[in-house]
Symmetry: C2
Subunit: 254 residues, 2 copies
Amino acid sequence: MISIVILGSGNVARHLFDVFLNRNGIDILQVWGRNAAHLSYFKDRAVTNGDCSELLEADLYIIAVSDDAIPEIARTLVNKKGLVVHTSGSVPLNALDSNNRRGVFYPLQTFSKGIKVNFKTVPICIEAETEEDRDLLHRLAGYVSDNVRETSSEQRRFLHIAAVFVNNFTNHLFQIGNEICGEHDLAFDILLPLVRETVRKLDYLNPLDAQTGPARRGDRKTMENHLHQLDNKIYKDIYALLSKSISEKYGQKL
Amino acid sequence: MISIVILGSGNVARHLFDVFLNRNGIDILQVWGRNAAHLSYFKDRAVTNGDCSELLEADLYIIAVSDDAIPEIARTLVNKKGLVVHTSGSVPLNALDSNNRRGVFYPLQTFSKGIKVNFKTVPICIEAETEEDRDLLHRLAGYVSDNVRETSSEQRRFLHIAAVFVNNFTNHLFQIGNEICGEHDLAFDILLPLVRETVRKLDYLNPLDAQTGPARRGDRKTMENHLHQLDNKIYKDIYALLSKSISEKYGQKL
């Protein structure tokens, strides 16, 4: 049985709580947070106070707070014997206090309030300083996911950048499509089959081979027409820059 | 029974051929193309010669060639009584010859060689100049898709631009993620659950509400770190521009 204390009450803390709760082999002792209003989510596991002095001894302390707050929260745990991990993509392991056993438990996924995630497929990127701690994290991650990977702080940092491109920026492109549709009396859902196919293709092709479109073909006329028709300045800039990047990638001259 | 001649032998022609072939209510009379090598795909329906003089009388002529070639191919059909349509997103209906009955049959999807598409969900955007011709296109589209929409040339032009954003540009962002992974000894498939979730979210949220990430939060520190870590100049520019666009959209000051 792995005993756990979760520190944090935001999206990641909630999703971890939901997936760990009532799972054989995992015992959530407490969820600590500053914001009493957020803590109602965690019912009888919730603890709130300023100095974490009520925290029980646990095998594992999972810090699931904003990146900036990690070092401060970590310092309150210096006297704990359990392994202390954070859940951030961009924060190195050594942002945690060196008096603790330290590790990282980074679920590479986007978590939204109220949208349930199938953890079985979520890559859990783990890192620790000893074999024993790695084993503990492997065991915990293995309870909830079939996709556990050891990654260094350096790899995780770049994974997080890649995630910004394929998730945050991709969603913004969807939003641009959404706006263009709205301006021309078209419902956004007309684009969804195309969006789904764009992703489904990755089951068969790597993205380098899957690339299509005017920039890939070096079809200057279509690109000029599109640029001419876009009236939002920054969307025009995005169109031009992404087209340039694709063209250069495939050796097309614009 | 709707009798059809397809003009063209590329991806779109092949996918239409596959979905129309042996479908009750549709009879493919011929597939015409210039490139004899490509025509083997269409077996006994294939015709090739320079002037289209061997083309049979049909209810419908579907021109599925590159945008630039549409007017020229259309001119060879001026003496035909059947409805002449093209399949392009960006070409207006009136690029076809005004001596013909004219229309558009635009499947809003990305077609790759050898990857079968489920046409049932593909939006087919149709346009015609008479009620009778619209009915014919509705009937044909309805045989293969549950998602038929009448769209004007103007709407279709903007749909095509939106499609470039949500398909071509999105795929390029996947490629950037792919490269970042490759440079740090990580397999691209580690990003796939995140990519799939980014799209699955659109079943619950519109992209405006689904936006997350450093730019959405106005988290300058993370963005500066990421920019610092990217060494590819153009990917740096893409990161900066998309972050700026997201920040402006959500009223965050960078």
